[in-house]
């Protein structure tokens, strides 16, 4: 990238790179069919084509590219989870983000500015100590900071000394950061299509043709497509799509809402989240303050927003930074999240021999876009699940080997 900048920086004929190619005709068969053109599906397509030489790949997307949760997330990237299996996986994810702009030759605006999670109670602080020790053990940069440390990292915070929500300390995760979500998806799409992957927009998978223990073909609104291997990466629709193949996933759908303020000068230099207030904030490179929080209180397949939830987010944000009270909101939205019982994803094999799962990404899957794509591509290419993914198998629910990341996920995704 730097060489190209030098080469073309002063020249008039910078080669304009084409967008993602228009949707081609559907072929009758592909080696690999990826259902869902979000970040995960596109990342897997890229890794299949670039690292495994598999080019007969079709990504089938029912709407427009990356308009699902990839477009709706608040872009928290971090690895400060609590289970060793979780930390090992997300750590690889953060490391891939560190190199992603080079990998894609596309600026994904990765900004590793660190994440500060706040404790307003001794109990939360104790859980932070455990996460910090696990994090250090696994080789990530995670530590507990005291009140002075919090003030130094984020001087504009309302510490609420003596108040009911006094900030007692924080979990400082220097590896944490953020990136531009659309760029991540487009970068993967551009790279994948350059290597021959076909991206089919407005192509909805409506049913599966299952013969024995194999998916013979998928049926779409544009016709039947026979497939060697199939990956389900349909975000909020994972339960619904897998069910059509006869696979019932332990997933429940909940809306998750977020919003942004009008652009402000840069003032928030870390990601900040509060467990007790169920609110987190990050300032985007455009200056907008992105505000997110916990999931909706009940199950629903809908991207509607509610005033209750927006008021709750505003309340949390204003409590932490009272000077935000006069700031206007620019946009607000929601996505449908596919929640698992243990707040960890479901990756790997399904009961069908050639159907693979990249599901259960709930409120936390953007950060895993590169690593899930890389590891699922490896799985599909080699026909077996690599060690790093094994703990995330669907069978873990039947063997009661859950990976409980609820506490490390709830407030900041």
């Amino acid at each position: 990238m730097p060489l190209r900048l030098l080469k073309y920086g002063l020249s008039r004929d910078y080669p304009v790179s084409g967008d993602i190619p228009a949707t081609p005709e559907l072929k009758p068969a592909y080696d690999v069919v990826i259902i869902g053109g979000g970040g995960h599906g596109l990342s897997c397509a890229h890794h299949l084509a670039k690292y495994h030489g598999i080019k007969s790949v079709a990504v089938l997307e029912k709407a427009y590219l990356a308009g699902g949760n990839t477009a709706r997330n608040t872009t928290t990237i971090r690895s400060n989870y609590i289970t060793p299996e979780g930390i090992a996986f997300y750590k690889e994810g953060v490391e891939l983000f560190e190199r992603l702009s080079h990998e894609l030759d596309f600026n994904v605006m990765f900004s590793q500015r660190g994440q500060l999670t706040l404790a307003h109670s001794e109990a939360t602080l104790r859980s932070f100590h455990m996460r910090a020790e696990m994090g250090k053990h696994m080789g990530t940069r995670t530590e507990v900071v005291d009140q002075k440390g919090v003030e130094e990292l984020c001087p504009l915070l309302n510490m609420d000394y003596g108040g009911p929500l006094e900030i007692l300390g924080g979990l400082w995760h220097a590896d944490g950061g953020t990136a531009r979500h659309d760029a991540v998806a487009w970068g993967y799409a551009a790279q994948a299509s350059r290597r021959g992957v076909e991206i089919h927009q407005r192509t909805e998978v409506q049913d599966f043709e299952v013969v024995g223990d194999r998916v013979q073909a998928v049926k779409t609104n544009r016709g039947r497509v026979a497939c060697g291997q199939v990956l389900i990466a349909t975000g909020g629709m994972n339960y619904d799509v897998a069910l059509k193949a006869g696979v019932e996933l332990p997933i429940r759908c909940y809306p998750l809402q977020a919003m942004v303020t009008q652009p402000l000068k840069p003032w928030l230099h870390t990601l900040v989240s509060s467990v007790s207030l169920h609110t987190y904030l990050v300032q985007s490179s455009r200056g907008e303050v992105v505000i997110g929080g916990g999931s909706d209180p009940y199950q629903l397949y809908s991207t509607r927003s509610t005033l209750d939830m927006k008021e709750h987010l505003a309340e949390g944000a204003i409590h932490l930074f009272p000077f935000l009270q006069g700031v206007r909101l620019l946009r607000q939205w929601a996505g449908i999240t596919d929640m698992t019982p243990d707040y960890s994803p479901i990756m790997g094999a399904s009961p069908l021999a050639n159907l693979w799962l990249d599901c259960g990404w709930g409120t936390w899957g953007f950060k895993a876009t590169p690593v899930a794509g890389k590891r699922m591509a490896q799985t599909i290419a080699e026909g077996r699940v690599p060690d790093i993914l094994k703990p995330f198998a669907l069978e873990r629910f039947e063997t009661f080997r859950l990976l409980n990341e609820m506490g490390a996920t709830a407030a900041s995704h």
């Binding site: 339960y239 199950q299 629910f397």
Partner: protein, 88 residues
């Protein structure tokens, strides 16, 4: 503001209620294999369509049931838990 009709307290703001998820048949603890336990614990109803689910009116701590559309979010009806047996 979304409203919900509580069988005991009448029409109230849905904020006053807490969802306890879809109704699940309780397995017989003496005659249930691990896989069925796992199903019971981890696989709640999530099909697009109408679910019967437990709700609680928080201020009065009253538990009851509602039929709700998981796509349109329409609350079709609410009823007391004593009616659950009659419906089953």
């Amino acid at each position: 503001m979304k409203l919900l009709t509580c069988p005991m307290n009448g029409l109230r703001n849905i904020d006053e209620f807490q969802s306890f998820g879809p109704v699940r048949a309780r397995p017989d603890p003496d005659a249930t294999a691990d896989t069925e336990w796992s199903r019971h614990l981890f696989r709640a109803e999530n099909r697009k369509g109408i679910v019967t689910e437990w709700w609680r009116h928080v201020p009065s701590n009253y538990f009851f049931l509602a039929e709700r559309d998981l796509v349109s979010n329409e609350i079709i009806c609410t009823f007391d838990a004593s009616e659950l047996r009659d419906r089953a």
